[in-house]
């Protein structure tokens, strides 16, 4: 019996997808939160068209980050509360395969929320949010954020105040994403050439975080 790395990653991500398709707990919660957030922002900024256009990139990323936090918490709680994290750790798998599998599921759900959010924001904010460059920036930002989120949620899920602790512990570490992603998004929406530099920085930060989280995951899950 030998478990291939790819088969293990696909099994874990596939299991998360199957569980979610059946329960619809995670995606529905993330979607409702994201929709309410952009509606609230839209109404709050309705009277000031310039402010609304200025704020759109920030609204997108704040909404995505908080929607993602909701999903991350529940995704890891599902593993921890029934002891399933132990079951994963008992299997003859590399710890990085467990991390990549969980990360893939989390990034997929947040990516789906983003892909539904972008056309809606195009309609509400009068900006072309479906620009392929913006879609790419969004997906890269989500990948980096979910890598960090998977690690941090694994760390905080064992605590009693995990719902409150995850955002508090994670937001300072997520600032490099928020800053670079908002700048890159704003650059794309205003057709400024500097978006490329911000996008490259975002991709670099995402890659560094992904590698670091991959290396640190073992120390977070093992007693």
């Amino acid at each position: 019996m030998k478990t291939s790395y790819v088969a293990a990653v696909l099994a874990i991500a596939g299991k998360d997808l199957r569980v979610e398709l059946r329960s619809r707990e995670l995606l529905s919660l993330m979607l409702i939160f994201a929709l309410l957030s952009i509606l609230v922002f839209s109404f709050a900024l309705e009277l000031d068209r310039v402010a609304r256009e200025e704020a759109v990139s920030g609204v997108l990323w704040v909404t995505l980050i908080f929607a993602s936090l909701l999903g991350l918490n529940r995704s890891l709680a599902q593993e921890y509360d029934q002891g399933n994290l132990d079951a994963l750790l008992l299997a003859p798998l590399s710890r990085t395969a467990i991390f990549i599998g969980k990360f893939a599921g989390n990034a997929l759900f947040t990516g789906l929320v983003a892909l539904l959010l972008l056309p809606l924001m195009t309609a509400l904010y009068g900006k072309n949010m479906l620009d392929p460059r913006l879609v790419l920036t969004t997906l890269v930002g989500i990948a980096g954020f979910c890598a960090l989120g998977t690690l941090m949620a694994t760390l905080t899920v064992k605590t009693r105040a995990r719902e409150a602790l995850l955002p508090v512990a994670m937001m300072p570490l997520a600032l490099p994403f928020l800053l670079t992603a908002v700048r890159a998004t704003k650059g794309i929406l205003t057709n400024a050439t500097e978006w490329q530099a911000w996008f490259q920085l975002l991709a670099g930060v995402a890659l560094i975080y992904l590698v670091l989280c991959l290396l640190l995951f073992r120390f977070v899950v093992e007693e």
Binding site: T3, A7, R22, S23, G83, D86, A87, L90, A91
Partner: protein, 236 residues
Amino acid sequence: MIDERAIIEVERLSKVFGLLPALQNLDFTVARGEFVLLLGANGSGKSTLLRLLSGLSKPTAGAIRIGGWEMPREAMAIRPHIGLVAHRPLLYENLTARENLSFFGKLYGIEANECDARSQALLQQVGLSRRADSLARAFSRGMKQRLSIARALLHQPDILLLDEPYSGLDQAAAEALDGALATARREARTIILSTHQLQRLPQNAQRALILSRGKVAYDGVARAGEMTAIYQAASA
């Protein structure tokens, strides 16, 4: 199959949580195919010992060798040989019984057809074949425990570790567990079963290991009918 006579060797094993010593200087070996009862009051260190043996926790000091491999350094080689039935069922509530077994089969690298056949046989053995396509969340505590036993046996481990498997079980579930243990014995699997319920001890255990405050208080033959007296003397 691991074929060394002493399949588990524990030397001067200690585990400390903060300042609290959970296990202190344990020394024992378990022979291949042996059925060991691990007895002790709540907090005596039974669960900690099983977590150490399964590789879920690392020792503070001492050594654990399983089949000649050292834990936790060579844990990857040991993991396919260990099955654990823990306090919690280690199952996904939103997957069916069959899907749970199929998922864990993939994690252990069991080929799909082989996994289906084993799942079918194990579900039959634990009396859940009629509920194979029901979600685990619809199961009672006893049914979850039976499915948990099927999960632990799916990859045909040489060593089966059971942590308080009888707690919360009704009569039917306890009998299904007895049946699964008898089958595991016939298949020459090494079994370590922890419990604090002296009124519900499996009859075919060969040896008892009693823990008291993190130390071995008794290590000897599990004599049916005398275990309560032995336990009380050892725990005093």
